[in-house]
């Protein structure tokens, strides 16, 4: 125990020391370069300078005065001469540069961000998504503004997320980013988890178990029964009960009517411990 405490102390000491050492500042503003752009793009430059990303920070920084519009857009001299978009690096859908070339500008500074360690392996990079598709270099907040950013490309998600049963994404209480690592992972669907079930368990802790009686399809894959992006059936189910249950379990067992076993939640009226049971009657998931 003493050794463990000692090691912990050394780790903390190292981290603190490294933190104090690494008090580097961002680049300061190269005012001359900025003023050059402001001649024609005053509104954009003002917005940039007022925005936290990057203008506000650079304008405060005491670092080397190397930060300017040209840090991202490249040398603007030719552009000032010919007034062509193609003479300068631009970002977004209307850019004349490829997504890869646009992203190189961002990665010049951000490539060492821990979150981007697997960018080259991710689906977004491999599908030519540019950083500017989601991030604004001029605005006050560089982070994407809610799910609408994702809906721009994942068009059908907007409709899915507003079905009767959905995670509170459009309400702003859960973000796409809570489940997906958009900057690249080795997982299927870029999910943040060793597997889908473990991802779900982070919020649905009561479903973790271990249970005395496990429901095998539940343990293998939550998405066998649930559609996490939205469903018109209660609890994000892929089909309404009892039809979903009947895809595996046969046997007449009641009737869809007010007094029958299929009223309301149907099979779940009795088999309520469908995620796993700890009762003596666990095999039937009724306890």
């Amino acid at each position: 125990m003493e050794n463990r405490k000692g090691r912990l102390f050394l780790v903390m000491l190292f981290a603190t020391a490294m933190t104090l050492i690494t008090t580097g500042a961002f680049a300061g503003i190269d005012q001359g370069s900025v003023d050059k752009c402001k001649t024609c793009h005053e509104e954009v430059v003002n917005k940039f300078m007022a925005g936290a990303h990057h203008g506000k920070v650079w304008s405060k920084s005491k670092g080397a005065t190397t930060g300017s519009c040209e840090s991202c857009h490249g040398n603007g001299d030719k552009h000032m001469e010919d007034n062509l978009k193609t003479s300068i690096i631009t970002f977004g859908k209307h850019s004349s540069q490829s997504a890869e070339d646009q992203n190189k500008q961002c990665l010049n500074c951000h490539q060492k961000s821990p979150g981007l360690a697997m960018w080259k392996l991710g689906a977004h990079k491999r599908n030519d998504v540019s950083c500017a598709s989601c991030h604004s270099g001029h605005g006050d907040k560089p982070q994407p503004a809610g799910p609408e950013t994702c809906f721009k490309c994942h068009t059908t998600m907007k409709g899915q997320m507003q079905k009767l049963s959905h995670h509170p994404v459009v309400e702003g209480k859960v973000s796409c980013n809570d489940c997906h690592n958009v900057h690249g992972t080795t997982s299927h669907g870029q999910i943040k988890g060793d597997n889908l079930n473990q991802l779900c368990y982070k919020c649905h802790q009561d479903k973790r178990g271990p249970f005395m009686w496990e429901h095998a399809p539940v343990e293998e894959n939550c998405s066998t029964c649930h559609k996490p992006h939205g469903s018109n059936h209660a609890a994000l189910l892929v089909k309404p009960t009892p039809l979903l249950c009947k895809d595996c379990h046969e046997g007449p067992h009641g009737q869809v009517r007010a007094a029958g076993k299929f009223v309301g939640r149907a099979c779940l009226n009795c088999h309520s411990k469908i995620h796993g049971s700890n009762g003596p009657a666990g095999k039937d998931f009724t306890r």
């Binding site: 936290a52 360690a117 209480k173 007449p252 003596p280």
Partner: protein
């Protein structure tokens, strides 16, 4: 607060004003805002959970604020929203540039699940606690369609999460992050339960108390350079349920309940979850390659005393039932287990490797392999001592139950390549292999192997148009064991074709359009021995489109829509088909009335979903008595044994949502808004046709519902007025 007071209070905000300016404190530049909003809500069932599913819109005032500050070295930001509501959130973040960062937060997430207006109720005292007793004098021997004498409660769960994180060593090759949060969940949800001593199909829908506390800790350390990135991440979560048992006295008047015997239901048990991940990524390998490896290990544990005569001698508990229809009772004094406690332990081990390369400017490739092993190391518990019963027709015996655990491992491997062709065209080809081996707990479906091939083509040759098309074919092979006589659909052999297309277009300045569509067709195959798969065919068509037009630099009109049609055919009982059609259309408009002073925005959205099933309605076994049959919400006949008919309405609904808002810039730093939102849901489902809180039909001796699924209709009008002061 009354509606009129709320309006007056919110209106008074408009009188606030002045010549406030950005604020400087020392070398800090501060800016921020204060927002207040008054809301008035009216309508029919306007406090319905379906209207306020994840929101807390109600009469009264709420607000928020923000404050951000920067100096040469430090930055900070404080934000608060929905103050005083069940959705309130506070977040403070900041740090020293290129050095460290921190975040502290408090967040509430409400999940309203059923009616609030007293229509959710039950014959119980003690809702919200771990002990339920019948309301004194309640009589469930007669039908009680309105729940007369029942006590109301709400099915709603509120999560309150607070915590923080610290990000160290920013700006150095090293990084370290540590975070902690605590999540409290409180509320009620519906729990269906049959009492131990039911002679038939007595069922109660009861309020399950939710009182969870989960502590989560995460930490990561690592190093990143141009050549490599390496990190070690850890996560630990401890889950605690303050109500691990629900002890309840059934509310029916069954003869065996005359003495007020109790029953016990085990709820979610305390447990821990921890996870370790090691990642290593190496850049700039030959052929412009990047290689990554991830090794993960997780453990989930839960240990508790099992219900048996030694641990709970004063309580009753359900025996195992399996196929025995009338063996639902056994006093716990007769039930024994071979071990006193369940020691639950599940280990997950995973390994993932991926190599992305760009051997030429035109070729982009990726190889990957993943392994996952879930091993359930829990002890198994065997129950015995149940009464001798008819286990199934012609078979009599004593039911003994041994707990069931499930283990499996997966191999997942694949490769894909994308090649750039002339004219900004990219061609892709890929192959995925997935093998699942269920080593314990699923003997009828021990193995599946998936082969999936993918082709894709994208083109960006026109400045104004990007198009993609993608096709995939999946062949799932299965190893069956034939004892069960039918196949579980998730492990059945199947073939699936999926075709997806996407277009993004900007044909005119200011005009933005997108269209995406996907269609998948899955065919499930019978086994060689002739067992039927749970499903026959699935068809899923999804089409989404959006169109936006920017008029100049001020006015924007957007239109969007989506169609989702799903059909699923099955044949376990008889040929049948479930179909669900859903579409959503909407439009939104933002425009200035007086440029930079008065803005107007409005939106309208319409959703419609319709579910129905052919040949799905069926009855108890021929010869048994049954109750009334409803079609389209109308009573058709009182007794229809053996029918295979249709269910015409499943989760069928329409929802209209409209909103309009005017924003007025009163002063340079003061803005006001006035708005209105309307929402209406009309819901129809045969499963709640003729709904009764208490039935006493022949095949359901006492059938008590709580209203959890009843009557989702609502109509809500919301008027709001607000002000925002910025500095």
């Amino acid at each position: 607060m009354t509606k009129s007071k709320a309006l007056i209070f919110a209106s008074a905000l408009l009188c606030i004003g002045g010549s406030a300016q950005a604020y400087t404190l020392g070398n800090w530049d501060l800016s921020g805002s204060i927002m207040l909003e008054g809301q008035v809500v009216s309508g029919d069932n306007e406090d319905h959970a379906q209207f306020n599913k994840f929101t807390d819109i109600k009469d009264g005032v709420t607000g928020g604020f923000s404050l951000s500050g920067y100096n040469a070295d430090y930055g900070m930001e404080l934000r608060a929203s929905d103050i005083g509501r069940d959705t309130q959130e506070f977040r403070l973040s900041g740090g020293r540039f290129e050095s460290f960062g921190y975040e502290l937060f408090y967040n509430e997430i409400i999940n309203n699940r059923a009616l609030f207006d007293g229509a959710v109720k039950g014959p119980w005292d003690g809702a919200g606690t771990a002990t339920l007793t019948p309301v004194p004098g309640i009589d469930l021997s007669a039908a009680n369609t309105t729940g007369e004498g029942f006590k109301p409660f709400d099915f709603s769960i509120n999560r309150k999460i607070f915590g923080g994180s610290l990000d160290l060593l920013k700006g150095s090759p090293f990084f370290a992050k540590i975070g902690y949060n605590r999540e409290n969940q409180e509320g009620l949800r519906a729990l269906g339960m049959a009492p131990t001593f039911s002679t038939s199909s007595t069922i109660f829908e009861m309020p399950e108390p939710i009182d969870y506390v989960t502590d989560n800790v995460n930490a990561s350390v690592g190093y990143r350079s141009d050549a490599m990135a390496v990190s070690l991440e850890g996560f630990f979560s401890s889950f605690n349920n303050n109500n691990e048992k629900l002890i309840w006295t059934p509310a029916n008047t069954d003869a065996r309940n005359a003495s007020g015997l109790k029953d016990t239901t085990l709820l979610a048990q305390d447990g821990d979850f921890w996870n370790l991940n090691f990642r290593d990524t190496i850049y700039d390998l030959p052929l412009d390659s990047t290689f990554t490896a991830k090794l993960g290990y997780s453990r989930i544990t839960s240990k508790f005393d099992v219900l048996n005569s030694a641990n709970t001698p004063d309580l009753l508990h359900s025996a195992g039932t399996t196929s025995a229809a009338a063996v639902n009772y056994a006093t716990i004094s007769t039930v024994v287990t071979d071990v006193p406690a369940f020691d639950g332990k599940i280990d997950y081990a995973s390994a993932d490797f991926a190599l992305a390369s760009q051997p030429t400017d035109n070729l982009d490739t990726k190889l990957f392999y993943g392994y996952l092993n879930k091993k359930n190391k829990s002890n198994q518990v065997t129950y015995s001592g149940f009464p001798t019963v008819t286990l199934r027709p012609g078979v009599t015996g004593s039911y003994n139950a041994t707990s069931g655990i499930f283990s499996y491992f997966k191999h997942h491997a694949g490769a894909d390549a994308q090649y750039k062709l002339p004219a900004d065209t990219k061609f892709g080809v890929g192959y995925d292999f997935l093998h699942v081996n269920r080593t314990e707990g699923r003997p009828t479906n021990p193995e599946n192997t998936d082969h999936k091939a993918t082709l894709s083509l994208s083109n960006n040759s026109l400045d104004w148009l990007t198009s993609r098309i993608r096709y995939s074919y999946l062949a799932r092979l299965a190893d069956y064991r034939d004892e069960e006589g039918f196949l579980f659909f998730d492990a059945a052999e199947k073939r699936m074709n999926t075709l997806a297309v996407e277009f993004e277009a900007m044909p005119l300045e200011g005009l933005d359009a997108g269209l995406s569509a996907s269609y998948s067709y899955a065919k499930y195959l019978d086994s060689v021995a002739g067992e039927l798969a749970g499903r026959l065919n699935d068809h899923d068509l999804i089409v989404g489109a959006n169109l936006g037009y920017q008029f100049g630099d001020a006015m924007h009109l957007g239109i969007y829509g989506e169609l989702d049609r799903y059909t699923s055919e099955t044949e376990i009982h008889a040929p049948s088909e479930f179909a669900y059609n859903y579409y959503i259309v909407g439009t939104n408009l933002t425009m200035p009335i007086i440029r930079n002073i008065i803005d107007f925005r409005a939106g309208y959205q319409y959703q419609r979903g319709r579910g129905n099933a052919e040949g799905e309605e069926y009855d108890n076994a021929a010869g048994s008595s049954s109750g009334p049959l409803y079609k389209d919400g109308v009573l058709v006949t009182a007794n229809t044994p053996g029918l295979a008919g249709a269910i015409n309405y499943l989760d069928t609904y329409t929802r209209h949502t409209a909103s309009a808002q005017v924003s007025y810039k009163v002063l340079e730093n003061l803005a006001a808004k006035l708005g209105y939102t309307f929402s209406q849901l009309d819901y129809l489902d045969d499963r709640i046709a003729g709904y009764s809180y208490n039935n006493t039909n022949p095949d359901s001796a006492v059938w008590t519902q709580s209203g959890a699924t009843l009557d989702w209709d609502y109509k809500a009008h919301v008027a709001f007025i607000g002000a925002e002061y910025t500095f």
